[in-house]
């Protein structure tokens, strides 16, 4: 089995329009959560989110291209451009034919659906823009990334709700490990911050109206975010041979299913995913220094996740630094694992351990070290990133310093 390393990363999210600004914001413990701004927001009960304000797509894409792009595609394209530029790879010849792109998303072109349902149902229009279908399809971001960068290998979209981008990146990693592709581009993108998107989530009564405070006794639900992150996953020898700057190694990946409840988190499914990821990475529990938690800020997720971490890590659980960066960028649903991977890579490369902000009061059900409010500077050798989705689908990525 081939080894896989990361040679490029890119992002746009509420904390910043690139990796450097995002990591600076995480290091400073900055919140990207603000008042939502879009049509009909006054009819929502939940009015906050990790929205990217002031995003001007016209600065990046021609009007012709924009006709084909939903906001989630635009986010994905910008993140992919950054990642591929950093890697220094140019996709031509055999490399182009073997490289593909796997993107996680839960809602796909939800902005396009929202706008056009409004047009036909509310405004009574009988005609929609001809590109509604190519804009809203879940594979649109993956497809446009493949077209812009000439990626002609295996490309597809993965939809596993809140674990979509971890599942997507895991598929890409496994393709490189198996020798099917020397390089794969993968990550996730989401843009659910529109009236219909938030209204649907309100129905579940799991959203917080005042902030995302994972693992804190005062937590009262999740806060949504939007954006994308994309990475270049490259076979280790391929990266070495061309003298590429290697950020870290993806050493393991595992997926499990709860086969239980459609929405209630399950400690068994979560702990099996973490345990298998460590085994797959040939890591001992005490090799791990940092866990980027799923940490949604709901009462149940955070206590169940704490229980699962304790089962996997035993006594070492109390030595782990655990944080949920959702407290800063919000929950990007299908894109969240990708943005959170940035925090793991930063921990491994620079020793910046991103905090869980908004933390005021310890909860007896969450009694581990959640790196409250202030980032830490500590060099670590290995990290894992958790994603546990609605539907009971879990995906954990293990990373190692190189």
């Amino acid at each position: 089995m081939k080894r896989v390393v990361i040679t490029g990363q890119g992002t746009v999210n509420a904390l910043g329009m690139d990796v450097a600004s995002t990591l600076n914001a995480m290091a400073a413990g900055t919140s990207g959560i603000s008042n939502l701004d879009f049509e009909n927001v006054d009819r929502l009960n939940i009015k906050i989110g990790g929205q990217i304000h002031g995003f001007d797509p016209d600065a990046h894409f021609t009007r012709q291209k924009r006709g084909l792009y939903d906001r989630f595609t635009e986010f994905g394209l910008l993140a992919a451009d950054q990642a591929i530029a950093q890697s220094g790879l140019v996709f031509e010849g055999e490399l182009a034919e073997r490289t593909g792109v796997v993107m996680g998303t839960a809602g796909g072109g939800l902005q396009t659906q929202d706008e056009n349902y409004r047009a036909v149902y509310e405004q009574g229009k009988n005609r929609v823009h001809p590109f509604v279908v190519p804009r809203l399809m879940n594979n649109a971001a993956a497809s446009h990334i493949s077209m812009v960068h000439n990626l002609m290998g295996p490309s597809f979209a993965v939809a596993t709700a809140c674990a979509s981008s971890n599942h997507a990146m895991g598929q890409a990693v496994n393709l490189v490990r198996a020798g099917a592709s020397p390089v794969m581009i993968a990550g996730g993108s989401e843009s659910m911050l529109c009236f219909g998107g938030i209204k649907a989530w309100e129905g579940l009564r799991v959203m917080s109206g005042d902030g995302c405070r994972p693992f804190c006794a005062t937590r009262n639900g999740m806060v949504q975010g939007e954006g994308a992150a994309v990475f270049v996953f490259e076979e280790y020898e391929h990266a070495r041979a061309r003298g590429a700057e290697i950020l870290c190694e993806i050493s393991g990946f595992a997926m499990t299913s709860d086969a239980g409840d459609i929405v209630t988190p399950n400690a068994d499914g979560a702990q099996r995913a973490m345990r298998q990821a460590l085994k797959n990475a040939k890591l001992n529990p005490d090799d791990v220094g940092y866990v980027n938690a799923h940490g949604t800020g709901t009462t149940l997720n955070d206590s169940v996740e704490t229980t699962a971490i304790k089962r996997v890590f035993g006594d070492h659980a109390h030595q782990l630094m655990i944080s949920s960066t959702k407290s800063m960028h919000g929950h990007l649903i299908g894109g969240t694992g990708a943005v959170e991977l940035l925090a793991c890579i930063a921990a491994l490369t620079t020793g910046m351990i991103a905090p869980t902000i908004g933390f005021t009061t310890p909860d007896p059900a969450c009694d581990l070290d959640y790196v409250p409010n202030t980032a830490r500077d500590k060099k670590i050798g290995a990290a894992i990133s958790n994603a546990f989705a609605f539907g009971g689908l879990n995906a954990v990525i293990a990373l190692r310093a190189i």
Binding site: T62, R63, Q64, G67, L68, R127, H129, P130, F131
Partner: protein, 87 residues
């Protein structure tokens, strides 16, 4: 130049990324390098702009009951549709 024609030229100019001055009545859509997606968008913009339905089948544009060859032929067709559909 008729009002319909000047509005069609504006719509095509936007799709073809040209200025209206670059487009003449005898310009063909082929000359203007409008690809199939741009043509579909042009038809949509014409339908929206004139409040009409254009019988256009993207599967087989030649079978549409409209002559898309040039700006002039398109104008003639649109004028006929406006008359027909406002009746």
């Amino acid at each position: 130049m008729s009002d319909v024609q000047s509005r069609i030229i504006e719509i095509i100019a936007e799709q073809a990324m040209l200025t209206p001055a670059d487009i003449a009545p005898d310009s063909t859509l082929e000359d203007l390098a409008l690809d199939s997606l741009a043509l579909v968008e042009t038809i949509f913009a014409i339908e929206e702009g004139f409040g009409i339905t254009v019988p256009f089948n993207a599967n087989n544009p030649e079978d549409s009951e409209i002559d898309f060859t040039s700006v002039a032929s398109l104008t003639k067709a649109v004028e006929a549709l406006i008359k027909q559909q406002s009746a």
